[in-house]
Symmetry: C2
Subunit: 211 residues, 2 copies
């Protein structure tokens, strides 16, 4: 539970201390807080202010259970099946053992997160535009940062996506809609608001040209 | 020029008051501020923490002039050629006249913005994945929010993209790289840090299912 005033955290501090949170408690999130997060989300960028988006809030246990099963299929295919290999690897560019275990925990407990958000783009179902997400992922980041202000953890996931058609039907989305992510939200059960570790800036920032 | 302490703005206030800024002055941005913005950017989400990204900082007048010409081609094709129609329209889902004029100003003055940032994804040049941007646009939003803290305006643009191959060559990017946006940065010359106007939340938020 948050003990602090959500308005007390500074913007710069928030940007530097919002890692993915994958250990989430089942404690409910009040509706007015969910609305506040979404009101912050929609202030993010929308190309040409077209706002061809929808935000689906899922709390229904049966819907969550079904999608969590599909998510676990995706987890197993992409990561779970490589468990020993990933845990044994020390490739600094790869997933760390701690991140693997946290992501595995999330896959096994996804439906316990009290609130899920699906950001959706309308008219995008057939898009093959790799920059499509510029119309919504900034707003998704607003959602996760607003959650941070309220002491709520989140992470951006897409591992359900092989079942896009099934998810679309289950959520009664129009045929032309594309779900862009699944964001499980919950008060953190473990871990802390630490700065994400990243490669040194000099390795990823280039002046004037790449090389 | 910023008069306030960059650390004084709250996270929630920043999320609610960071519109696209398209009237930008030519006043230089100090290097240490540019680095601070990028250090905030890379704390954004990176799928599996792979960080297959590069951030190109462009200040060279000749490079900016060349890309600005390509940008204006894209502007003309997508918006400029429909000038009278857009300015006469009162479609609430479309671009407002004020936004059109601001975007037109940006197209005509793009190279005056003192610093440009190209966020780049490596290994993505042939991607047709509409969710590709989930690996970088959250970090791009961090960049724009950090800029807000420092009193620097920004907007996410992609109108140069028809010249992707030309831009890739000009920036000496590897063949497998994809530029994901162009973010012009500058101290605002006009306008203010107001809350972006959006459709009412009840029109875009749905509980459990879309309809």
């Amino acid at each position: 539970m948050p003990s602090e005033d959500p308005h007390s955290l500074s913007l710069l501090e928030g940007l530097h201390s919002t890692p993915a949170r994958r250990y989430l408690s089942a404690e409910p999130i009040p509706d007015d807080v969910v609305r506040a997060l979404l009101d912050a989300a929609v202030r993010g960028p929308s190309g040409g202010n077209t706002q061809r988006w929808a935000w689906i809030v899922v709390r229904d246990a049966e819907v969550k259970r079904q999608i969590a099963d599909w998510y676990r299929e995706g987890w197993e295919r992409s990561y779970g099946s490589r468990r020993e290999q990933i845990l044994a690897s020390d490739d600094p560019q790869g997933m760390s053992a701690a991140t693997f275990r946290a992501a595995e925990h999330l896959a096994n407990h996804l439906e316990e997160a009290p609130v899920w958000i699906f950001p959706v783009l309308l008219g995008a179902a057939r898009s093959a535009n790799p920059r499509l997400g510029s119309s919504i992922y900034g707003a998704v980041q607003h959602l996760m940062l607003a959650a941070r202000a309220y002491g709520i953890g989140a992470t951006l996931t897409t591992l359900y996506a092989a079942h896009e058609d099934d998810v679309r039907r289950l959520l009664h989305l129009p045929d032309d809609a594309l779900t862009m992510a699944l964001i499980p939200l919950g008060y953190p059960a473990r871990g802390r608001w630490s700065q994400p570790r990243r490669r040194p800036l000099d390795e990823v920032v280039f002046f004037e040209r790449y090389e």
